[in-house]
């Protein structure tokens, strides 16, 4: 197994990996090729993954990772309450059938959740829409509107509003453009993507 260090990870995953306590139990929902999982294993975490793409699951299992092929929209309900210290949903919220339900499931299965997503209110998006009147195709959202899996585009403000509506506490947040971390001011138009750490209140 390649012991991917945090520096090899995509920036949102690197932030998540850096802020997950060593030795904790983690569920990575939509774990892809298992890059975050491998990094967390290196921190002594007990990590499980869910991934819908069979070829990626095969890659993960061949790396020795515990990954279940499944659809997070349907399968999260089968995980016990707070069976994990953290649940991670990276770049997947906007593909969910019902992001609100998925977020609720996330903070039920894990005591805390890390969620990263592309911010649709990023200024380049706004500009592309304003100038061309067409759905933007960008570095972070490279697929045309008719083929994209991103069926529920979301902005930083939308996410914050949803978290409030669901009674979630936003513990921490990080904002990025390309690989550069931004200060939080004006994040809704300046950030290309965001990472939130949330928990169920109370």
């Amino acid at each position: 197994m390649s012991a991917a260090s945090s520096t090899d990870l995509r920036p949102d995953l690197a932030v998540i990996a850096a802020h997950i306590e060593p030795g904790t139990r983690v569920l990575d929902v939509g774990c892809g090729d298992g890059a975050l999982m491998a990094a967390l294993l290196g921190k002594g975490c007990d990590v499980r993954g869910i991934e819908i793409d069979g070829a990626l699951v095969e890659t993960c299992v061949a790396r020795g990772l515990s990954v279940v092929q499944g659809d997070a929209d349907r399968d999260l309900v089968d995980y016990p309450d707070h069976g994990f210290d953290y649940a991670v949903l990276s770049q997947t919220l906007q593909t969910a059938e019902r992001p609100d339900l998925m977020l609720s499931e996330l903070v039920r299965a894990g005591r805390r959740a890390f969620v990263s997503f592309p911010n649709f209110a990023y200024w380049r998006m706004r500009w592309a829409l304003l100038r061309h009147g067409r759905m933007p195709v960008t570095r972070h959202l490279p697929v045309s509107w008719y083929a994209t899996q991103n069926i529920h585009h979301v902005t930083v403000h939308d996410f914050e509003a949803l978290a409030q509506e669901l009674g979630l506490t936003i513990e921490r947040r990080w904002f990025f453009t390309d690989t550069r971390e931004l200060r939080p001011g004006g994040a809704n138009w300046r950030a290309e993507y965001a990472v939130f750490e949330v928990s169920a209140r109370g």
Binding site: D46, R48, G54, V57, E58, C60, V61, A62, R63, G64, L65, S66, V67, V68, Q69, G70, D78, Y79, P80, G83
Partner: protein, 363 residues
Amino acid sequence: MTETYRSSTLQAPLALDGGGVLTDVTVAYETYGALAPDRSNAILLCHALTGDQFVASAHPVTGKPGWWGRMVGPGRPIDTDRYHVVCANVIGSCMGSTGPASLAPDGAPYAMRFPVITIRDMVRGLVGLLDALGIERLHAVVGGSMGGMQALSLAANWPDRAARVLAIATTARHSAQNIAFHEVGRQAIMADPNWREGGYYAHDDKPGAGLAVARMAAHITYLSEDGLTEKFGRRLQDRAEKTFGFDADFQVESYLRYQGSGFTKRFDANSYLYITRAMDYFDLAEEHGGKLAEAFAGSQARFCLVSFDSDWLYPTAESRHVVHALNAAGAPVSFVELSAPFGHDSFLLDVPALDRVVKGFLE
């Protein structure tokens, strides 16, 4: 069954789920690869309904290569240069382990006096063998189909005996459809006049016709419709025209007849009755208070389940059912549905993705 196979006679009698006790139980087995000095590299391979211990060496009756030679051997995914592979014939079978064809203490074959056994009873026999071999903890237990049932049963009932559990194309319980197909096979055997209420061992005429029909019916369930269509379609067997008779006009008929008659040369009809019964009785949740998650509550093992998209005998939903239970029990589990055209038999055939998953999971 006059051949002698490498075997171990268990010291303790086996107390069975059905209430009976089997004494002087023989478990025939083969091993491949060297056992490490610390005995940490053993893998127990569990065979399917009509399988046997000759997983990677020639079958002594048919001369055919081992049934999983593509998976087990030097440099193979289950690498015998690294692992000590143990594969035993299950009790109730007919390749050297105690079964209905074996002699009872009174010197006559058990025949139908053999007690009805369960999958867990088979695993009791396997655990007895591991004890005899001095293997306390397995690197892994691996099985497909009925072998997967044994792997799951071992994990549930002897949770300390295996560090890894790999169950392929299997289920935690036999469905009504599974039981139904098995009942067709059993009735075919019992309808054969040569079956003689199971007491055919002293007679020259064996219930081969019934056993062949049982095998033919079962064999269809191991394949997929697409696989059958691709392999045979409606093609005729060595003839240009239909004969307007009941000879094997179609290639698929000829193939099934060949499979059926070949099977009777290596398998005992009563063993077929007993083993299919054990599979039908299999319901891992039932053994554990009706909750499958309870079955795995004490397990420290890592699990991997694999299903095939064309397998309608033990479809993906059955593997998912086990995965959900393992998740509920908090066990580390991997699961993947692989795409392969061969139906249930995919686990025995050329599916490179399975090789990668098996190799990766065992490391």
